[in-house]
């Protein structure tokens, strides 16, 4: 089954047509990479999937997005965002909250836990899942701002998966991290895809090749090519894709 499908998706910012008729099918429990040069619209596309784009008043969406067969536009955006977690390019745990509270936030807001004990258990589970538990278990109540960039990003992953979403969106999650931290995140992606579907946006073809099962190449708002990662990388059908993969395009 497909976790997410988009059908003839168009996105406009005011008069700018930034996503032009994109059709995607993202299979369940896979890692799906969206790659392309900066400014191609990949972050915009990603933000439309959990309806986060609607925070921006100028953005208009046409076409359909389906989550496990059901149109997200027929769902409450709050539910959509609960079922589709997201991790951003800049690690953004709330600096005024403790590590524990950051992970617990989504659970509390959505009233997903009934007791303090249950909350503690899920927070621990999420931190373990995101390979952060050992590093923070003794300072759960210190502010999140005390963590390193890589730790913050894993905290954001913990915060997202604590809600047990079916899909996790990752917007260039390693772009602002050092190589060691970046590798930890990539290893985490392998772990996480056992339980959920991951859609990751990256400007680095190398990263897409390393982590993804499927890859889509987006250029100037258009979907140029999509398919199994090894097929695309070994045998691209479009000239543009080949140019991009061989580094002859920005």
């Amino acid at each position: 089954m497909n976790a997410i499908e988009t059908e003839d998706l168009h996105i406009y910012y005011g008069k700018n047509h930034v996503i032009k008729g994109v059709n995607l099918e993202i299979p369940e429990k896979s890692v799906f990479a969206i790659m392309g040069p900066s400014g191609c619209g990949k972050s915009t596309l990603l933000r439309s999937l959990n309806r986060l784009l609607e925070l921006n008043e100028d953005a208009k969406i046409k076409g359909d997005i389906r989550l496990f067969g059901k149109s997200v536009f027929d769902m409450d955006p709050i539910i959509v965002r609960r079922e589709i977690g997201m991790v951003f390019q800049h690690p953004n745990p709330f600096p005024h909250m403790s590590i524990f509270d950051n992970v617990a936030l989504g659970l509390k807001l959505n009233k997903l836990v009934k007791s303090k004990n249950e909350l503690k258990k899920i927070v621990k589970w999420a931190l373990e899942k995101s390979a952060l538990w050992d590093e923070v278990k003794d300072k759960l109540h210190e502010p999140a701002s005390a963590l390193s960039g890589g730790q913050m990003q894993r905290l954001c992953i913990a915060r997202a998966i604590a809600l047990k979403p079916k899909v996790l969106l990752m917007d260039e999650p390693t772009a602002n991290l050092d190589p060691v931290s970046a590798r930890k995140i990539e290893e985490l992606i392998f772990e996480l895809k056992k339980d959920l579907t991951i859609v990751i946006v990256t400007h680095s073809p190398a990263q897409a090749a390393r982590v993804s099962d499927y890859v889509a190449f987006l250029y100037l708002g258009k979907l140029i090519e999509v398919g199994k990662t090894e097929d695309i990388f070994e045998n691209p059908k479009e000239e543009l894709t080949e140019k991009y993969l061989t580094g002859r395009m920005g």
């Binding site: 951003f88 909250m97 989504g106």
Partner: protein
């Protein structure tokens, strides 16, 4: 070779002049109030007496009522300003229709700069009668057993009138500080909280937590403004030496005491020092509150 920075030596005296003025001001307040401290000690601040007399032997002054009134009215002002200024800042940045945002901000900026005497005349001739008729009388008639409402509002000039007027005056000021802080929250935090499935109410609550130091700063600086305000308050407070818990009772504030009494104070031997002592207390309260406010603001700006 050490090169003298001529430019620096040319400019420094002007900074020195500003500092000099400020220090001179402090010295003037200390020396001018000295006679009353020598005569009464701290009783000038701890008693509520106002005995003016041609005979210096019989003079005695205690400005406790004014200090009480200043704090009472400023606290009221801040209690009014807090919900208004936060709501305004949040609404205008996040939720107001686009076309309304700029006009709303212009309106509050006008309010922040409006000559205070205009608030004063409106307060005395328009606001006080409205408050007396529609707020004080009904509350007094039905709830006078509550100490807060126990004073019969005869004229309407009262702590409440001054507090409400001050609240209206300082709200735009507090709101400007909170607004700028709220606007400065990086977009990634907004996205982050909505991505967790928060409603607008929940998201706002969390984002307000993020700018808490700026809110504290806004409130402290608003308190500082309120406590220093003079003419508007002195036209609605009633100017009576009074220490009363009731909102509807008339009273004094430090600044309105000075405004009212200083004109004829030179006739008496100790009234001028007494008023300078009152001014000194305002000087110090204002300095502490404003410094604390600026500190919180700086903490917010540089910590993030």
């Amino acid at each position: 070779m050490v090169r003298m920075d001529k430019f620096k030596t040319f400019l420094a005296p002007f900074c020195g002049l500003v500092f000099g003025l400020f220090i001179l001001m402090l010295i003037v307040y200390l020396t001018a109030s000295l006679p009353i401290f020598e005569r009464e000690g701290l009783a000038i601040y701890t008693t509520n007496v106002w005995k003016a007399s041609e005979n210096p032997q019989k003079e005695f002054y205690g400005v406790l009522a004014a200090i009480y009134g200043s704090i009472y009215t400023s606290v009221l002002a801040v209690l009014i300003a807090l919900p208004l200024s936060i709501s305004f800042a949040v609404f205008v940045i996040d939720y107001a229709p686009k076309r309304l945002k700029e006009p709303l901000m212009v309106a509050t900026d006008i309010m922040a700069g409006l000559p205070t005497i205009i608030y004063g005349i409106w307060g005395a001739f328009v606001l006080v009668p409205i408050l007396k008729e529609y707020v004080m009388m009904p509350l007094y008639e039905h709830f006078s057993f509550i100490p807060l409402f126990s004073f019969r509002p005869v004229t309407g000039y009262s702590y409440l009138s001054a507090g409400v007027l001050l609240g209206i005056m300082v709200t735009p000021f507090a709101s400007a500080i909170i607004r700028e802080a709220y606007r400065s929250i990086p977009y990634i935090y907004r996205e982050g909280v909505y991505a967790l499935g928060a409603t607008r109410y929940e998201a706002t609550k969390i984002l307000l937590g993020y700018i808490k130091p700026a809110i504290v700063a806004g409130i402290l600086l608003a308190f500082g403004r309120a406590i220093g305000e003079t003419v508007a308050v002195s036209l609605v407070i009633g100017n009576v030496f009074n220490i009363n818990p009731s909102l509807f009772a008339p009273g004094y504030t430090i600044s309105s005491l000075i405004a009212n009494q200083f004109g004829n104070a030179y006739i008496y031997k100790y009234m001028v020092p007494a008023l300078f002592a009152a001014g000194l207390s305002l000087f110090i309260i204002g300095l502490i509150v404003n410094l604390a406010g600026l500190m919180y603001l700086r903490r917010f700006k540089y910590a993030r």
